[in-house]
Amino acid sequence: MFAGAPSAGHPGADHGRARRRRARSLRELLTGWAFVGPASVIVLGLSIFPAGWSFLLGLQSWNGFTDPVFVGGANFAEIFSDPDFLGAVEHTALYTVLFVPMSVLAGLFLAVALNRRIRLIGFYRTAIFVPFVASAAATGILSTYLFDPQYGLVNNVLRSLGLPTPGWLQDQSQAMLVIALMSLWGQAAFTTVIYLAALQDVPGELIEAARLDGANRWQTFWRIIWPHLSPVTVFTVIWQTIQAIQLFDLVFTSTRGGPLGATTTIVYYVYQKAFRELQFGAGSAAALVLFALTLLITLGVVVYSRRRGMEAF
């Protein structure tokens, strides 16, 4: 801006100048906060304030009606001795282990496949990207239909091929796999787009040079392109892991945590504790464990990638 410039060359007006400067900085302060104030109040009011409150709630026993009672770490002791919570942690870990590698590898593969000029490429890209707009509710209902053991398309195809027809979402050992597959259907677009953007940033000269040195496509990819993508890979692994351990919507709309609790995740546990059993304290404690887990995983991957010399963050 043009601070101080206009008032130069007016000797003897020091007092007035100082007052004008004060008035201007007050006006700038008001203008600035008029621009940023409304959005800031909403965003901070709906995040910083509740986040701080949840730390307090985690230390209280409260059902929303009677007065809250301070219980210290009792909520944490309770959830960690609750087999349902430990099961939820286990199911969340299973989903994460299934979903994260699948979504990162699928994204990488699809990006490489889509990163070329061939006929129909627009159709391929649209087909792979369009499930991204499907909501969890729609995806959940759709998966219960597609994977219905009797009437579902998947088992109809398997049956006509003479293959065994599993119970899928109604089978304790398969339900989480189906949820991971349907998540992949909706989310593959995301990692694909990220990798596509990153592939465009690989310098063409490097690839040319490798070719001239006699490297084949396979070698060029793993020796030249893949190392270039590593910051993006670190990022997508972190991002998808954070998404995975927060799984809730799709479970709620497909299995409601069943069969026999086999797909209860940590967030599902939070939902049940807080909003079904009205144990706000225990629910908040479980949410805090999830938050700590998120920070630990992020920190772990960042430290690991620093050690390996990948400048991702």
């Binding site: 391929y124 969890a136 209902i141």
Partner: protein, 307 residues
């Protein structure tokens, strides 16, 4: 996500994200650097089956929604119905309040988009260009909130909505969380930082004040970023389930997603009705996606590279 704004090392991501907002890198996605090939590419053999696999769930959804109900109860049900039948839609519209829920969702999304466009672009500009006390702390706090998972906020926000604002069981409970977002402010700030400051200085010299500069000079240039912001808000608010689920129990204030997820317990085997409901919830976004694919891809890229 992670350390944006706290370490300069995050800069490459931010830089790239800014380019994306201008629409440049989506164009680059569309045009791969490889030379055009005339012979048949073997990649078709890979891509065609994958593309069809990704489309099949939607195809199944549309076909089932248009099937006669009895055919889906047959064993095994045909993939392609013998005739097109709208009884699923008729049942949906007559036996449920789906039109009301659709209206509710439209209200939530429209309010969210308008509010996002106004408030986040104002705040983004303020944080990018104006100099005032508290600016740096403000933007740091806002970026930090991107790290706080929604799940941590569920319980206290519910209590706040129930006991503080007293908006539980009203549509307002679904609207308020979508009025503004840290992501939206951050996106607009990155965009305004990428604009050359000379444009605005010219306006200031001509005697326009900050508001006139913003509305007359800056905002018209921000259309690509505003499109990204609108799509981000549309996707999030239209498909949101968690907030309505915990805060709304009254079926008059249901959103479409909440109504759909509620069907599941009550109409488990009415497949035509369920799939018709899915079509109503999904088709608007699919059409939108087909019409503005480039902007959707830009939105995805930016939300991925925001950290």
């Amino acid at each position: 996500m992670t350390s944006a704004g706290t370490r300069p090392a995050a800069a490459p991501h931010l830089g790239r994200a800014t380019i994306t907002v201008e629409g440049a890198s989506t164009d680059r996605i569309a045009t791969a650097p490889r030379r055009r090939r005339t012979r048949f590419s073997l990649w078709h053999l890979v891509l065609m089956p994958i593309a069809l696999l990704f489309l099949i769930p939607f195809v199944q959804m549309f076909l089932a929604a248009l099937s006669p109900a009895a055919e889906l109860q047959r064993f095994p049900p045909p993939f392609v119905p013998s005739r097109i039948d709208f009884s699923g839609f008729v049942a949906l519209f007559t036996q449920s309040d789906v039109l009301l829920w659709l209206l509710n969702t439209v209200i939530v999304s429209a309010a969210g988009i308008i509010s996002h466009l106004v408030l986040c672009s104002l705040a983004g500009y303020g944080f990018a260009r104006l100099r005032f006390a508290g600016r740096k702390v403000g933007i740091l706090l806002i970026i930090a909130t991107i790290m706080v998972p929604t799940q941590l906020l569920m319980v206290p926000t519910y209590i706040l909505f129930a006991n503080g604002f007293r908006i539980v069981n009203t549509l307002a409970a679904a609207i308020v969380p979508w009025l503004a977002s840290a992501f939206g402010i951050f996106l607009m700030r990155q965009f305004f930082l990428s604009l050359p400051a000379e444009l605005e200085e010219a306006g200031t010299i001509d005697g326009a004040n900050r508001w006139q500069v913003f509305f007359r000079i800056v905002l018209p240039l921000a259309k690509p970023a505003l499109a990204t912001l609108a799509i981000f808000t549309l996707l999030g608010s239209w498909n949101d389930l968690v907030w309505p689920l915990i805060a709304i129990n009254d079926s008059n204030a249901f959103t479409l997603q909440l109504g759909l997820s509620n069907f599941q317990g009550t109409r488990q085997t009415q497949w035509t009705l369920l799939m018709a409901g899915n079509v109503v919830a999904t088709l608007p976004l699919i059409l939108f996606f087909l019409a503005a694919q480039r902007h959707f891809v830009a939105t995805m890229t930016f939300s991925g590279l925001r950290g």
